[in-house]
């Protein structure tokens, strides 16, 4: 017969249903931020919209995979052009997007960019703003966790989600290519492609997560944080494009760095360097058909410096705002 827990440990046929104190060990966890990150991830995973965006984000890679599949089945397809890309009907696309597997992956990554931005808003706009709204910071910071634990947890919660969503379809496509096109030099010609795929996804996630925790910390509602980040994202793109146009007179091959001085530009600029693909520009300068121009990607050093600075700024902004006080406005 099972032993019934009793008050004071004395044997009794009546179960002790009174309050039982915790008599285990109270340990200080090393990765305290992980508890907060886990909670953020769990909350986002429960949203239907998240899965809609996950599906949509995979779409560019699915299309790319389908395109490769059909191209490789066309008569006369083989090890083809450049870095082992199957030739055939994809020739026009290859011309536009780059003739290497890295180029194809990069193209799908840029097509995914807008969806990752929307996903970032969904996962990150409420990360701290929702706590501000509910005054939940008081509860969090009353636990044995520091402000840094909280911030790292929130940041990781957003970062891991975006990085996961960005990387998962790319890694799946990579595995498909590995199985199907290794004979055509898929792996041997670019052994580091998997790392490039993961690296580019991480960059995108890191920049979005850093900026969003900053905006979220300064907002009272997730909606406000999302709206302000969306505004920042688009206005920065418009301004950098305009400044580029003004300073170069619209000359396509000039001012590449200026064109990347915005959120999506920074992400794409760094990713382009990671993938090691040139910048292709579709120009309509001449009458008739568009012209495809190829220029070097923006300097990796400057891109990393700017991306790092923007990310750091976002995190520092968030850190300055995280306080364990109930904000009452008069």
């Amino acid at each position: 017969m099972a032993e019934i827990p009793t008050a004071g440990g004395s044997p009794s046929p009546i179960a002790d249903l009174s309050y039982r104190g915790y008599d285990g060990v109270l340990e200080v966890r090393r990765a305290r931020w992980w508890i907060i990150a886990q909670s953020s991830i769990r909350l986002t995973r429960l949203k239907k919209g998240f899965w809609v965006l996950v599906s949509l984000s995979a779409f560019p890679f699915v299309i790319m995979g389908a395109q490769m599949f059909f191209a490789s089945r066309m008569p006369g397809s083989g090890s083809g052009n450049g870095g082992g890309l199957p030739s055939g009907p994809s020739a026009v696309m290859s011309m536009v997007f780059g003739a290497t597997y890295g180029g194809q992956f990069y193209t799908a990554f840029t097509q995914q960019g807008f969806l990752l931005f929307v996903l970032a808003i969904m996962a990150g706009s409420g990360s701290i703003a929702a706590d501000n709204q509910a005054n939940a910071l008081l509860v969090y910071l009353a636990k044995p966790i520091t402000k840094v634990d909280y911030l790292v947890g929130k940041w990781m919660g957003v970062f891991l989600l975006i990085a996961g969503v960005a990387a998962a379809p790319a890694v799946l496509l990579y595995l498909y290519c590995l199985v199907s096109y290794s004979a055509e030099g898929f792996f041997s010609k670019d052994p580091g492609l998997l790392l490039r795929v993961i690296g580019a996804a991480a960059v995108s996630a890191a920049i979005h997560a850093s900026l969003l925790v900053g905006f979220s910390a300064w907002s009272k509602t997730p909606r406000m944080a999302g709206a302000v980040y969306a505004g920042f994202y688009f206005v920065s793109a418009i301004v950098s494009s305009a400044v580029w146009g003004i300073s170069t007179g619209g000359r396509d091959t000039e001012g590449i760095l200026l064109r990347h001085l915005n959120v999506s530009g920074l992400i794409e600029g760094i990713a382009q360097n990671i993938y090691g693909v040139p910048q292709t520009i579709v120009s309509w300068r001449n009458e008739g058909l568009p012209e495809i121009l190829t220029v070097d990607p923006p300097s990796l050093g400057i891109m990393l410096l700017l991306g790092g600075a923007v990310s750091l700024l976002g995190i520092l902004f968030a850190r300055a705002k995280i306080r364990a006080v109930e904000v009452v406005r008069g």
């Binding site: 239907k48 808003i121 909606r223 003004i246 396509d252 579709v282 120009s283 300068r285």
Partner: protein, 260 residues
């Protein structure tokens, strides 16, 4: 009386100091960019009409109008639900459709005022005082409210149907509306921006480098006539707004966490 108060309070909420600063920045942004272009362009190369046209198409129609419509259009309902103040609205003896219509009217006024000021400031910056007599400006001032109504109605409808209208609104505004107007054949007829471009055409300068969306746009001929645009946009407004008002009158809007 009650309508006036709903409208006034909604408008006051949209004109709070923080929001006014953001609106002022949006009004000033295109004009500042035009002034920058003007200051660095070699003499003789600055074509005021082309610059106004480019900025109006890309920034005012393509960004400010759409962005404000997403934010203000969805906030008509979402903000009340998010703040959990919707209970005060829904328990007053005012027909629900009138509450929503008044709040939508306030959002519409805020959007139109912003885009009008932005257009006028841009015309003044590009063309100078003579810019106010430009036919293109006056045509834009006439079409922008139609755009605000059409986009506003769609985003309001999204707010009555979806839990996270801002997110889906952004996807529609900057995903769908960037690509679909440039799609071949009759596909472009599924975009509000395509109709607005027909009513307020802004030719693009030839020397531009273009993205994929624009590239498609240049390859595909426009299939929408002016008559069609004048027919479809009012239908979008009436149907979108009507459906939103109907749904708001019939559906339940209670903050989810309140549900026991």
């Amino acid at each position: 009386m009650s309508d006036y108060f709903i409208f006034l309070n909604a408008l006051r909420d949209l004109m709070r100091p923080k929001k006014l600063i953001a609106i002022a920045l949006l009004v000033a942004l295109p004009a500042i960019l035009v002034l920058l272009m003007k200051s660095v362009a070699p003499s003789g190369e600055f074509n005021p009409q082309v610059v106004y046209s480019t900025v109006a198409a890309g920034l005012i129609f393509g960004f400010i109008l759409v962005m404000l419509s997403v934010i203000f259009g969805t906030s008509v309902l979402s903000q009340e639900i998010e703040q959990k103040t919707i209970a005060y609205m829904l328990t007053r003896p005012v027909p629900r459709w009138r509450i929503m219509l008044m709040k939508f009217a306030a959002a519409f006024i805020a959007i139109v005022t912003t885009v009008w000021f932005a257009s006028i400031a841009t015309a003044l910056a590009a063309i100078g005082p003579k810019g106010l007599s430009e036919a293109t400006l006056w045509r834009d001032l006439g079409i922008l409210p139609i755009g605000a109504l059409a986009y506003g109605a769609i985003f309001l409808l999204m707010a009555t149907l979806l839990n996270r209208p801002l997110m889906y609104g952004l996807m529609f505004a900057f995903g769908w509306e960037s690509w679909v107007p440039n799609m071949p054949g009759s596909f472009q007829q599924y975009s509000i921006m395509a109709y607005l471009r027909v009513l307020a055409p802004h030719p693009k300068p030839q020397s531009d480098s273009v993205g994929m969306a624009d590239l498609l746009g240049r390859l595909n001929p426009q299939t929408i006539s002016t008559t069609m645009a004048w027919t479809v946009l009012p239908i979008i407004i009436v149907v979108g707004l009507g459906l939103a008002l109907l749904l708001f009158s019939r559906n339940e809007y209670v903050p989810r966490e309140d549900a026991e």
